[in-house]
């Protein structure tokens, strides 16, 4: 714009600056920042944390994109945290020769991911579907942001994911969602407010690699107090019937089974083979599951209605006696043992389907 004399804004705007030794302030600021962050990092390391890859929505999207980039014929694992923590990809690869793509999401029903895969012509492989009763049969989605990010992830978000995985995650132990300052403050022992349920959030349970191979965090295995805390967190749900009434719960279970039937039909129509897997749980967690999600009215019905073969841990002696420090997930060493037992059974189930075809 050519500004003519007397017109608006003839003088360019110049932002006023503080009359101070700003350079000194910046240096002091950087020193304070480095000291404070260093102390914070030291605190978390001494508490038992180590730098690791964050199991973030961006990491999930990276694995999901492998299907679009020429690996759509591979075995894909979906489910919730039990499939994520219990299936060890290196062991699976060692036993079966193929490293699967890990797309299980903590606390989240696999059905939305299966529906996404059913819409994706690039996916022609095999699907191992984890069934955690209280999640699968209720359609619970704790972390929907993971599968929601993938179709709309921007180039900027992809770069941020790469930068984070390269520059921050491998080096910083504090850089974990569970140690975010506001989360730490939230879980302090604040006085309870009458009438407001103050649920404890699920704590850090696992450690992930860049391809989402995930295993139990050593602190859960070795720190009895921490394991007991994790158990208390699960137990918050054990007191009452899910959804407030058995009638609503039964309707929900039936709805989710119908939803599974539909998505299985769509996947099978495209030649995708499937197998359902019920991973181990024990103690109070198992009692809760058998009380509200008995096998006969959930798992058995699912297999019957979908016609998909299933591997239930109760049916296999090699899947007994495993260690579950917080009742729901296997200790890292036991996860390897479980994977070694599971992989041949899955292969057998797939082979039987091929014969059936």
């Amino acid at each position: 714009m050519r500004i003519e004399p007397g017109q608006l804004g003839a003088q360019p705007y110049v932002r006023p600056l503080p009359d101070m030794r700003a350079g000194t302030a910046v240096v002091i600021g950087l020193v304070v920042f480095v000291l404070a962050l260093g102390s914070w990092e030291f605190y978390w390391r001494s508490w038992g944390s180590e730098p690791a890859i964050r199991n973030s929505p961006g990491l999930w999207a990276m694995q999901r994109r492998r299907i679009d980039n020429g690996e759509g014929h591979k075995t894909v694992i979906v489910g919730s945290s039990r499939m994520l923590f219990n299936v060890q990809l290196p062991v699976w690869e060692q036993v079966g020769g193929e490293r699967p793509i890990q797309l299980a999401i903590e606390g989240t029903s696999p059905l939305p991911v299966m529906e996404q895969l059913a819409d994706d012509a690039d996916f022609t492989g095999r699907l191992v579907v984890g069934v955690a009763p209280d999640i699968f049969f209720t359609g619970f989605t704790y972390l929907s942001d993971k599968y929601e990010l993938y179709p709309k992830e921007t180039p900027s978000e992809r770069v941020a994911q790469w930068l984070s995985m390269t520059l921050l995650e491998p080096w910083l132990a504090y850089y974990d969602e569970d140690f975010a300052l506001t989360k730490v403050l939230k879980r302090q022992p604040w006085p309870a407010r009458k009438g407001v349920p103050d649920f404890l959030d699920v704590r850090k349970l696992s450690v992930s690699d860049a391809d989402r191979n995930t295993y139990m965090w050593s602190k859960v295995e070795n720190d009895a107090e921490y394991a007991a805390l994790c158990q208390r967190i699960w137990a918050q749900d054990f007191g009452e019937v899910p959804f407030g009434s058995n009638e609503v719960l039964q309707k929900k279970i039936s709805g989710e089974i119908d939803r599974a039937v539909k998505v299985v039909e769509r996947l099978r129509a495209r030649g995708v083979s499937l197998v359902f897997v019920r991973a181990p749980s024990n103690s109070d967690y198992l009692a809760f599951e058998y009380r509200w999600f008995p096998r006969a009215t959930t798992w058995d019905v699912l297999l019957e209605k979908t016609g998909v073969p299933g591997i239930h841990f109760d049916d296999y002696p090699e899947m007994q006696g495993l260690r579950l420090p917080e009742w729901s997930h296997l200790a890292a060493a036991d996860a390897s043992r479980y994977t070694a037992a599971l992989q041949p059974l899955v292969e057998k189930a797939f082979a039987a389907q091929r014969k059936g075809d």
Binding site: R2, I28, L37, L181, V196
Partner: protein, 473 residues
């Protein structure tokens, strides 16, 4: 890309470094233009075509208008530009809203009309850059300025990344003169710019996203009736969230631009210390309120055509201002309420004049508290996702209906009350003051310590690259 992302940190480091290398001013401007396109394309590359179209058309239109003295032709060309800009905005932003509203209207007459699905993605920042390019054409049409000679300068004015997606909504005169002559960023600009960026990101990541958003989400996500305390805290928290989010964005933008040696105008002046709604709109989203004043309220006649017409103009301006924010009737109600409060303020001033009480500090405090309370009433419609949600929260705030079930834990109450108290105290103290002056008055060690503490809190909160609220507008 968002300012609170790792991508932006890397991007900005490269841009700032390039800008300090000994290139010619022309090369530096080309660098900034390319960087701005990269900044925009990093969200959704195809939409850069819209930005190019908007830039090119308004550049040409302004020259056509300037070349002709025929008033009818000038007007026609100006209208063509408006049709293009508002048409683009209408198609992407209001298409679905218009169809839904038409469907609802048809249903009231018993007509069952199902419109086709409207799955159009809203190009980020379209409302902002459309207003920026329109101001250029309108300034030329209104003979407030003449078109420039450099297309590069104009393209950079439209696209300059610090203001591109969420303002401030700049006028040509705010930026073009700065592009005309070379400016080398000084060390003091660099340092103050970095401090402002830290302050802006602290507001966004720690206060808006970390502390206040969970409170707001809890209250506005509640499905049952709420108690009065929870409803008020949720809405007050939203007042803090939206301020820290939007002012945080603007402060970061101003700081980033200052590092490059370019000055951007202020967009906020401690709005929650406002005394009255006229004062509020001189302090909140200043670049939008002045845009609406200069290009809508004044052309409509402003206050030159008698009191009745003034009130209509005010209401119309605020209703459209509300609709500018989002394609939903809740935003229209938000704008309408602000219009009503502005009209009421004028009527009361006319009827009662100036009382001495209002000039005393207790009177000003009372008016300030009343203004803030009424602003919060309007925020309910801004935040609620639909009218039932708005009525539920508003009803609880006004003590209407049954007493509901509390939803806020002690921690959530603390995480709302502490930053809100600090924010209101700062707004009250800074009402007549300037940040750069107040900072300079403090001991350097204290400024450094606060800066370091903010940096640490940003890093420790971690954040999640969540988009700024105003990106959706």
């Amino acid at each position: 890309m968002t300012f609170n992302s790792l991508t932006f940190i890397a991007f900005f480091a490269i841009v700032a470094l390039l800008h300090r290398l000994p290139f010619s001013w022309h090369t530096k401007k080309v660098n900034l233009l390319v960087a701005s396109y990269v900044f925009y394309a990093a969200w959704n590359p195809p939409f850069i075509l819209l930005l190019w179209a908007s830039t090119f058309i308004d550049w040409k239109v302004a020259h056509w208008i300037d070349r002709t003295e025929d008033q009818a032709r000038r007007k026609l060309v100006m209208l063509l530009s408006l049709v293009f800009n508002l048409g683009m905005l209408g198609y992407f932003k209001y298409g679905g809203f218009l169809l839904e509203s038409f469907q609802a209207l048809a249903a009231t007459f018993g007509i069952d009309y199902t419109p086709p699905a409207w799955n159009i993605v809203l190009p980020i920042g379209i409302s902002f850059y459309t207003f920026v390019t329109m101001s250029y054409t309108l300034d030329v049409y209104l003979r407030r300025a003449r078109p420039g000679k450099s297309f590069l300068d104009f393209a950079l004015f439209v696209t300059y990344f610090p203001h591109l997606v969420a303002g401030p909504i700049l006028r040509p005169t705010d930026l073009l003169p700065q592009f005309e002559r070379e400016s080398r960023p000084t060390r003091q600009q660099l340092r103050w710019g970095l401090m402002l960026m830290t302050l802006g990101l602290f507001n966004k990541i720690v206060i808006a996203d970390g502390l206040l958003a969970p409170v707001v989400d809890k209250v506005y996500g509640a499905k049952d009736a709420l108690p009065m305390l929870d409803a008020w805290l949720g809405t007050l928290a939203f007042s803090g969230q939206i301020f820290c989010d939007f002012a945080g964005y603007t402060t970061t933008a101003i700081g980033a631009s200052l590092v490059l040696g370019i000055s951007l105008i202020d967009n906020f002046r401690y709005p929650y210390a406002s005394i009255g709604f006229s004062d509020f709109w001189r302090r909140w989203h200043i670049s939008l309120s002045t845009w609406l004043r200069d290009y809508l309220y004044v052309p409509l006649g402003g206050n030159r055509k008698g009191p009745g017409r003034t009130y209509v103009n005010l209401l119309l301006t605020m209703l459209l201002g509300g609709l500018w924010h989002g394609a939903a009737w809740t935003y229209v109600v938000w704008g309408g309420l602000h219009g009503l409060f502005l009209v009421s303020e004028r009527l009361m001033k006319q009827a009662w004049g100036e009382f001495a009480l209002w000039k005393s500090w207790p009177g000003r405090l009372m008016l300030g508290v009343l203004t803030y309370a009424l602003v919060n009433i309007t925020w309910v419609f801004f935040r609620a996702h639909d009218f039932p949600n708005a009525w539920r929260v508003l009803g609880a705030m006004l003590g209407l209906g049954e007493d509901g079930k509390p939803v806020l834990t002690t921690w959530l109450i603390v995480s709302a009350v502490v930053p809100l108290t600090a924010m209101l105290a700062i707004h009250a103290y800074m009402r007549e003051r300037d940040l750069h002056v107040e900072v300079a008055r403090q001991p350097v060690a204290l400024v450094g310590f606060v800066l370091g503490a903010m940096l640490f809190l940003i890093a420790a909160t971690q954040g999640g690259s969540s988009a700024f609220i105003y990106f959706q507008f």
